[in-house]
């Protein structure tokens, strides 16, 4: 039992672990399975590739944007530092070369201050020097103060005297201490420092003011911002107070907000933040000496502009590749399965019975080999089939011949024995009659070797036979023929009535001692012919009737030895299973044997092979 189960389990395991294509086995053709499977694999592969490429590109773009931002910061910081260094240099020059060398009580420093201003007037708005009590010593280009100028209250003045060792850079403001006769006001960044003054030989403290033109710094940053498609840079002092911002006015008007108070706490470098629902990269660079910070803001949407297009470019590219792959898959699958399909179609035609139609030979070597093999197999099958049919026909014929041949020896022996008996009894007339009937019987029996004859001949043969038998049995029975003339032209297997009559004589009339009757009735019912041989003999029980037409009946046979089964099989062999003998018998009343035949008009050509249904 175990040995029987093992292959089944193994098959299940094989099925479980065998690779299956995604669309295999769901009633799809091989072409669809190949196309869809490879297309699915292509799509998955391409999607995977797209995601990888997109992420790589996105990361690379962000890295590039960050590097770009840091480069811009480095460059801007360098420019700003140079500018501020230059301002400090002006301040140093003014202090060390002019103020320190002059006694302000005895000499003026106006000329030197004017020269220095003229040399740098693109970047400067004012140069001024004050005593520590706020009194103006001198200033260029505007020499006078406003009446209400409150110098000591100015942050730059205050800071210079509080931390004397340092330079002090203010936040941008409108300079309001000089008496400007025009309507123009200047935004400046004030660079102030404490200076040691000499006045009439006495040393005192003062403040040197260099007002840098804010527009110089603004232009410096504007030019950077104009070059940037997205994002911007801005500048703030070390307290987070904005010095420059491209949207400064919007910030002042509270139409825009900046995250400067957070940015001021950050160290140099880059980081990402979300500010007002916007993802952005922030790069920070601290300007040396001043502690100012330059901030570069790069919205992630800025790289997204490139990424956005790249995203759709990638999708377009991948889709085009997918479509191409799908077409190629389709072409390849057609190329692979086309010959198989042709082969299948040609086999289907063969199945329909046209075995002589060509089986497709072509395609790849495997398909060609398969076609050749199938063609050869079909050819062999056809030959086998023909051979089988021929053998069957020959077998059937030989069986028929054998069955027919069983009649002659018995009957001939009995009849000749009767004739001998008649001659010995000097009944020459009867002997002549017998011989005449026998001759007629044999003539019909021979029928030129035909196995099918007309019903008329068969009945004539039966009459001859009964005439002979009546002589033999000295008229112990009567024979009556009731034949519908319509059936006489029909076809019948020869010598089928005679064995039945023989049985009727042996099993019926023989025992009746002169009262036996045998009725032969022939009639046509629709397309069938029924010939009934009915006797009034002993009859048979039902059990005996049932086994009469079976191969294994053990009923004792008398007479010629040709049983009813013999006749039955001959009829069926010739006309089919639907025809044959129908036996009815009632004990002590008699037996009826009906020959059931199809009505087939007898023609010479039908006499042998043609009369087959």
């Amino acid at each position: 039992m175990n040995q029987k189960k093992t292959p089944s389990i193994q098959n299940k395991k094989e099925k479980k672990y065998r690779f299956r294509f995604p669309f295999e086995g769901s009633g799809q053709s091989i072409q669809t399975t190949i196309t869809l499977s490879f297309s699915l694999l292509t799509i998955l592969g391409m999607l995977f590739l797209t995601v990888i490429l997109y992420n790589l590109f996105n990361n690379r773009m962000e890295e590039k944007e960050t590097q770009n931002a840091e480069q811009i910061l480095d460059q801007t910081s360098m420019n700003l530092e140079n500018y501020l260094k230059n301002m400090r240099l002006i301040s140093d020059t003014m202090y060390y070369s002019v103020i320190k060398e002059s006694d302000l009580g005895r000499e003026s420093i106006d000329n030197e201050m004017n020269l220095l201003y003229d040399a740098n007037k693109d970047n400067l708005v004012n140069i001024a020097c004050f005593y520590n009590n706020g009194d103006l010593i001198t200033s260029v280009p505007i020499a006078t103060e406003k009446n209400n100028a409150k110098v000591k209250e100015q942050p730059w003045f205050h800071n210079a005297l509080v931390e004397m060792e340092n330079f002090h850079f203010s936040t941008p403001h409108v300079q309001n201490i000089f008496d400007n006769t025009t309507y123009r006001y200047y935004w400046v960044i004030s660079l102030s420092r404490a200076v040691e003054l000499t006045r009439n030989g006495k040393s005192t403290l003062g403040v040197l003011l260099i007002d840098m033109n804010y527009s110089s710094i603004e232009q410096m940053f504007d030019s950077v911002n104009e070059e940037r498609q997205e994002g911007y840079i801005y500048l703030m002092d070390n307290n987070g107070e904005i010095i420059y911002h491209p949207k400064q006015n919007l910030i002042y008007s509270q139409l825009f907000e900046e995250n400067n108070l957070y940015h001021v706490k950050q160290k140099d470098g880059s980081f990402e933040e979300v500010f007002q629902e916007e993802n952005r990269i922030v790069s920070v660079k601290t300007v040396s000496y001043t502690g100012w910070k330059i901030i570069c803001i790069t919205p992630k949407t800025s790289s997204a502009v490139g990424v956005y297009n790249t995203r759709y470019f990638l999708v377009t590219l991948i889709t085009v590749i997918m479509l191409t792959m799908l077409l190629l898959n389709q072409l390849i699958s057609i190329r692979i399965t086309g010959p198989l399909k042709k082969l299948t179609d040609s086999i289907q035609i063969t199945d329909n019975g046209t075995i002589d139609q060509d089986i497709y030979i072509g395609g790849g070597s495997e398909v060609e080999y398969l076609g050749n093999t199938l063609k050869e197999t079909a050819h062999k099958l056809r030959e086998l089939n023909d051979s089988f049919l021929q053998e069957q026909e020959e077998k059937r014929k030989s069986e028929l011949d054998a069955l027919q041949s069983q009649i002659n020896p018995h009957f001939l022996y009995n009849t000749l024995d009767s004739i001998v008996w008649m001659i010995e009894g000097e009944q020459y007339k009867d002997a002549v009659f017998m011989i005449t009937q026998l001759a007629s019987l044999f003539r019909i029996s021979l029928s030129k070797g035909k196995s099918v004859i007309s019903i008329e001949d068969e009945l004539k043969h039966a009459k001859n036979y009964m005439n002979i038998q009546k002589v033999r049995y000295k008229d112990k029975f009567e024979v009556f023929f009731h034949i519908d003339p319509e059936i006489l032209s029909g076809s019948i297997v020869k010598l089928v009535i005679q064995p039945i009559l023989e049985n009727a004589i042996y099993y019926a009339a023989e025992t009746m001692d002169g009262d036996g009757e045998i009725h032969i009735t022939g009639r046509k019912e629709q397309d069938d012919v029924f010939i009934e041989i009915k006797d009034n003999g002993l009859g048979m029980p039902e059990e005996t009737v049932k086994v009469l037409l079976t191969e294994n009946n053990r009923v004792h046979k008398k007479g010629s030895g040709v049983g009813l089964i013999n006749v039955h099989k001959r009829i069926q062999l010739r006309f089919g299973e639907a025809y044959g003998l129908i036996i009815d018998s009632i004990p002590d009343e008699g037996t009826s044997v009906k020959i059931h035949l199809p009505f087939v008009l007898y023609q010479e050509k039908n006499s042998e092979k043609e009369v087959r249904l």
């Binding site: 196309t35 869809l36 209400n148 403001h173 409108v174 006015n249 919007l250 002042y252 008007s253 799908l326």
Partner: protein
């Protein structure tokens, strides 16, 4: 489902995706087209519009607007303004920001064109209000700040002062409103006004013939005209000027104490918001809003404070 249908569906889906992504890619490359918007204000080259122009330019940059500020002299009549607006519409302006100089005769025109072109009114308001957006000065607040400044300076002595009121044009809605509010205030205080002048012509003659202690100018043009008259008559020390408006000249003379007090609007905001509104109207159709802008009360003593200097000197020079 038949084999051919599987393949057809797959092809169709991929093809649609390809067409969609190609379209998105190409539309991403194509820069957004700027929308032409015209701005029509009286005496547009006057520096009193500088802050507003700055605001408009900033908004135009942010909102993809092609800004065309029409050069004008004094637009004193609605007819001239309508003529200019018609010309701009014919030239393809999708929106117009304008200051109605005279509300008479504007109503029908605004009703006519307001349905097809986006309109934003600045400074002033006229009926009907449902076909345009507006960015307006809050006249009640302006007058309230002005009267507060008067009270802070003069206290109870205000009742003893001779006061004159001047405005540049008679029929502008905002000016009529300001004048009415101011007159209501003085009526409540039982202060009678020496004179009211509805234009700036022969202002010096009036100031000379009927001198007053305080002149209240209701707009920037009348403020500048009064400054000129006081300087001409050398009365800048004798007559106090309280003005509404903003210009470099007005600010300069505030610093010089010719103007005692200025009440001004945040013109930068007005410019920015007007362009912002017109972009919304162009993009979203009937999204009409009426906004009022902040105002500031500034004297000589606080004009350099950090908050106010950003308002008074918005431009880097």
């Amino acid at each position: 489902m038949s084999n051919r249908r599987y393949i057809t569906i797959l092809f169709s889906v991929l093809f649609i995706v390809m067409v969609f992504s190609s379209y998105q890619m190409l539309s991403g490359i194509t820069p957004e087209e700027k929308v032409p918007v015209s701005v029509i204000v009286s005496d547009s080259t006057n520096d009193r519009w500088n802050a507003m122009r700055e605001g408009m330019e900033q908004a135009a940059l942010n909102y993809q607007i092609s800004l065309n500020i029409i050069s004008t002299e004094n637009l004193s009549s609605a007819k001239d303004l309508i003529s200019l607006m018609r010309r701009e519409i014919e030239l393809g302006a999708k929106g117009i920001v304008f200051e109605p100089v005279d509300d008479r005769g504007m109503v029908e025109f605004i009703e006519e064109v307001g349905r097809s072109v986006s309109l934003v009114l600045i400074q002033s308001d006229i009926e009907p209000g449902d076909v345009y957006s507006s960015v307006l000065t809050d006249d009640a607040t302006l007058i309230s700040q002005l009267t507060t400044a008067l009270e802070e300076k003069y206290g109870e002595k205000l009742m003893e002062k001779k006061i004159g009121i001047v405005q540049s044009v008679p029929y502008q809605f905002a000016l009529k409103q300001r004048k009415k509010l101011l007159e209501d205030y003085f009526r409540e205080k039982e202060i009678s006004l020496s004179w009211r002048k509805n234009n700036i012509y022969f202002l010096s003659d009036l100031v000379e013939q009927d001198p007053v202690d305080i002149i209240i100018a209701l707009d920037n043009i009348s403020t500048e005209a009064t400054i000129d008259s006081l300087l001409e008559l050398k009365k800048e020390k004798k007559t106090d000027l309280f003005g509404i408006g903003y210009s470099e000249k007005a600010v300069y003379y505030l610093d010089r104490q010719v103007v005692d007090h200025l009440v001004l609007n945040n013109d930068f905001n007005m410019g920015y918001m007007s362009i912002e509104n017109i972009r919304k109207m162009i993009d979203y159709g009937n999204q009409k809003t009426n906004q009022r802008i902040d105002s500031y009360s500034i004297g000589e003593e606080n004009m350099y404070e950090e908050e106010y200097q950003k308002i008074l000197f918005p431009l880097v020079q």
